[in-house]
């Protein structure tokens, strides 16, 4: 390890996709670069560990992508999923840059593969990492090390010295190589959101946050975000907005990762603890609606819900880590979750009675729907009538929060007075709220990370030279 007492051109705080893209891009622009990763080496990379793909615009099919996904289509998707809560200029800039990223990350050692088994509906829009997110991270770290980026693990930053919008130094919790104060000419903050900070979540969600499961590591506590916001950086985004999905209630509190998710919502009904349905399970093709169910469950009493289906669809979706709970009757199934048996029987009976005949096809918006039921199930509605019956208990699984630091096209942070910071940049989930006001589409977090990471690194290096 080199002397950390020296002044670096660029200091990157964070260790995920955005941080590494920034570090590599800054180093390739000629800067001396230090990366401070707060987590131990195994847990390096924040949420990137658990990712698997990235959404990039492209004008033609490639050997891993089945068809074109134009800038316009990407923008239309983003506009729809955020309900217009996005910075149009920044978002369009990101989408344009994303085209180049597909090739750029390959130059940094990342390898692609066609979409994974069970995710065919993303085969046109999303590029998948060969070996998954940790393989992607390993490749970026290897490249960063090879080109001379310095990396420190267990390097938790407890304070930032910022004067008039200018970063001076960062303070380490524990000295590394004798140094506790790290000085640099420019800062790239790429340390993620605050999803693992339950106390902070409680400020907005109240006690409901106690029932949230955190899909990533316990290290994503948002301490850098908090320091920046406390020291004059302008904030962006609604603090209650986040990427949240419904995951198995039996998952660990932290770091359960991808395998706790459920793809089975469209094949059955979802009820809350009162055994009542609360949302149209067949609203849209599953990947498009995947991301709304976390918030839907978060809004239910005790933040718990149950996906109920029968044996006719048991093998229609990917196998799950936690097996479904089985029962010979609906009443027995209710008993296994302490649900009111009569209420669940009525919900299922009402649903079954409302199902109209149709031709089932889960790959299109088919004509299997309910009639006269509130809420309706508008597609893929089929009777739940073939025992044994099954259920998965689900809770909100928080992936990352959207509250962040406002940035401009250079990924440069803006201060509360609207002025650009002299030498501070941000990339990744810590500034995702600029683009994502709400909602989520698969792979977009990684796009934000790579695109703004690459920009931030380049700009920070440039900034350090001047």
């Amino acid at each position: 390890m080199v002397d950390l007492g020296q002044k670096f051109d660029v200091l990157v705080i964070g260790g995920g996709n955005a941080a590494l893209c920034a570090a590599i891009s800054a180093r390739r622009s000629g800067a001396s670069v230090l990366v401070l990763e707060g987590a131990p080496k195994f847990y390096r990379g924040g949420n990137t560990r658990h990712t698997r793909n990235m959404r990039c615009a492209h004008d033609a099919a490639t050997d891993i992508l089945t068809g074109p996904y134009t800038e316009q289509e990407f923008w239309d998707d983003l506009l729809r999923l955020t309900g217009g809560q996005t910075d149009e200029e920044l978002a369009k800039h990101m989408i344009r840059e994303s085209k180049d990223i597909l090739g750029w990350v390959v130059e940094q050692g990342v390898r692609w593969q066609p979409s994974l088994g069970g995710t065919l509906s993303l085969g046109r829009t999303n590029s998948f990492f060969l070996g998954g997110g940790r393989a992607m991270l390993n490749a970026l770290y290897l490249t960063a090390e090879q080109i001379g980026v310095e990396i420190a693990y267990d390097a938790e930053v407890t304070d930032l010295k910022i004067q008039d919008g200018m970063f001076l130094s960062a303070t380490l919790k524990r000295p590394i190589g004798g140094a506790t104060e790290i000085r640099a000419s420019a800062l790239v903050a790429a340390a993620g959101g605050f999803e693992a900070n339950i106390e902070w979540l409680k400020q907005y969600w109240g006690d409901a946050a106690d029932n949230f499961l955190i899909r990533g590591t316990p290290y994503n506590r948002g301490s850098i975000l908090k320091l920046l916001l406390d020291k004059g950086v302008q904030e962006v985004g609604d603090p209650t907005q986040c990427h949240a999905v419904a995951i198995d209630a039996r998952a660990p509190k932290f770091d359960g990762g991808i395998i706790t998710r459920h793809d089975s919502v469209v094949f059955g009904i979802v009820v809350n603890k009162h055994a009542e349905r609360f949302y149209d399970e067949g609203e849209d093709i599953w990947p498009k609606r995947y991301a709304i169910w976390g918030r839907l469950v978060a809004a239910q009493p005790d933040q718990i819900a149950y996906i109920i289906f029968d044996s006719s669809v048991l093998t229609s979706f990917m196998p799950t880590l936690f097996p479904p709970i089985a029962a010979g009757s609906i009443a027995e199934l209710a008993g296994k979750f302490e649900l009111d048996a009569a209420a669940l029987e009525k919900t299922v009976a009402d649903f079954n009675a409302a199902v109209r005949p149709g031709t089932f096809d889960h790959t299109i918006l088919d004509d299997c729907r309910t009639e006269g039921l509130t809420p309706p199930k508008t597609h893929w509605a089929r009777r739940i009538e073939t025992p044994p019956y099954y259920a998965y208990p689900v809770r909100p699984g928080i992936t990352f929060t959207y509250l962040g630091t406002r940035v401009n096209r250079e990924a440069r942070m803006l201060m509360k007075d609207g002025k650009p910071s002299a030498n501070m940049f941000a990339a990744g989930e810590i500034m995702a709220g600029n683009v994502l006001g709400k909602g989520y589409a698969a792979g977009i977090g990684m796009t934000i990370g790579s695109v703004f990471g690459r920009i931030a690194g380049r700009e920070a290096a440039q900034n350090a030279r001047n």
Binding site: F42, Q113, G117, G118, G132, G133, R134, N138, L142, L321
Partner: protein, 371 residues
């Protein structure tokens, strides 16, 4: 429920992996896993033998230890693989040889070498044993050709019989879901996959051994070893044909085909095993099946000794050391043959069979998709 603890663990891991699937592009194991939702003992033994131990799925896994899911596919499948060799061994009574394999192989090799030395000494007087013999038929002054051919032929045939019986049990056990047929295309595809060690490359970057930096070293050393062995085997085969078809007797001149093949193969078999052994000692223990170190080392050592004694025989065949060296070389080769079905040698056979099964499954799946 499974027959053994390690198969229980393999089942747990395949359930974790099947709900993740990030590794499906790394090798054949995960695509094969995705064709199933539940795993029988046979399925798990099939996956275990399909695994080439490249280690990539461990390095790439977000759930590997110290994560609480404790996902360690390479080590679990390595143990399951070794246990499967014993489970399918024929006759069953000999499966115990796998338990303390390093010791067993060493003992058999020592006894075999001793038998040849004593045999040579008993059947030849000192003048012959330590004499200088040159020209065609020199070896047979020490051991008549027919005796040599009968002994090694019998040992070889026994090895083949035992291997065939083991493979038959394995093939039947992994029959589901596509049945027990094999086709020429699958056999050929598996030959290519095995021949180029297609799945010993971490999905393209190289294998992982002592750290998280990919390298092709194990693949290169394995190629040297395997093709070295193949060349040596070819040398023996050509020499046998020379003897019976052309009535040309060993030893042959240095430029003759059996010697050229044997020398090239011998060099591969000297360098390859040393490389494999050094990689093995460097290997991160978290990836390895520590209990089977003896089995692995014994096999590598036997290959190395085969080459070493063979090369020594070639270099010193015109001297009085030829007699003892011939006894040594024949002793080692004989031990290699008779222990083939009961040592690490079987890994190549079972892995090839697993690759045939995989090629067949892929074929059936594509065929099914086209319908």
């Amino acid at each position: 429920m499974h027959g053994t603890k390690i198969l229980e663990e393999a089942d747990r891991l395949m359930t974790v992996c099947n709900s993740c699937r990030y590794c499906e592009g790394l090798c054949a194991v995960f695509p094969a896993m995705e064709m199933r939702r539940a795993f029988s003992d046979g399925d798990l033994n099939y996956l275990a033998n399909l695994c080439h131990a490249c280690g990539a799925c461990y390095t790439d896994c977000q759930f590997s230890p110290p994560h609480e899911y404790n996902v360690n596919v390479p080590q679990t499948l390595a143990i399951a693989r070794a246990e499967s060799y014993a489970a399918y061994a024929w006759p069953r009574a000999f499966s115990g040889v796998f338990a303390r394999n390093g010791f067993a192989i060493a003992l058999i090799a020592a006894l075999s070498v001793a038998a040849f030395i004593f045999g040579f000494a008993a059947f030849n007087d000192h003048a012959v044993l330590y004499g200088v013999h040159t020209g065609p038929g020199a070896f047979y002054a020490l051991m008549p050709h027919n005796a040599m051919a009968a002994l090694f032929g019998a040992a070889f045939l026994y090895a083949i019989l035992a291997l065939v019986m083991g493979v038959r049990a394995f093939w039947r056990d992994i029959g589901e879901p596509v049945g027990n047929k094999a086709d020429a295309g699958s056999l050929f595809q598996a030959m290519r996959d095995a021949g180029e060690l297609r799945y010993l490359d971490g999905g393209g970057v190289g294998c992982f051994n002592e750290d998280d930096k990919p390298t092709d070293r194990r693949k290169i050393f394995h190629h040297l070893t395997f093709y070295g062995f193949a060349f040596c085997f070819a040398a023996t085969s050509v020499a046998t044909l020379y003897h019976y078809l052309l009535a040309r007797e060993a030893p042959y001149a240095w430029w003759d085909l059996p010697v050229v093949l044997g020398t090239l193969g011998g060099l591969g078999l000297l360098i390859g095993p040393i490389g494999l052994l050094s990689e093995k000692f460097k290997r991160d223990p978290v990836l390895a099946d520590a209990k089977r170190m003896g089995m692995d080392v014994a096999f590598i050592a036997m290959l190395f000794l085969t080459a070493l004694t063979g090369i020594a025989l070639l270099l010193l065949r015109d001297t009085s050391a030829m007699g003892p060296l011939l006894a040594l070389h024949l002793g080692v080769v004989f031990a290699l043959f008779i222990t083939m079905p009961y040592g690490k040698f079987v890994h190549g056979i079972y892995r090839y069979v697993a690759l045939v099964r995989y090629a067949r499954e892929r074929r059936m799946m594509l065929h099914g998709a086209a319908e």
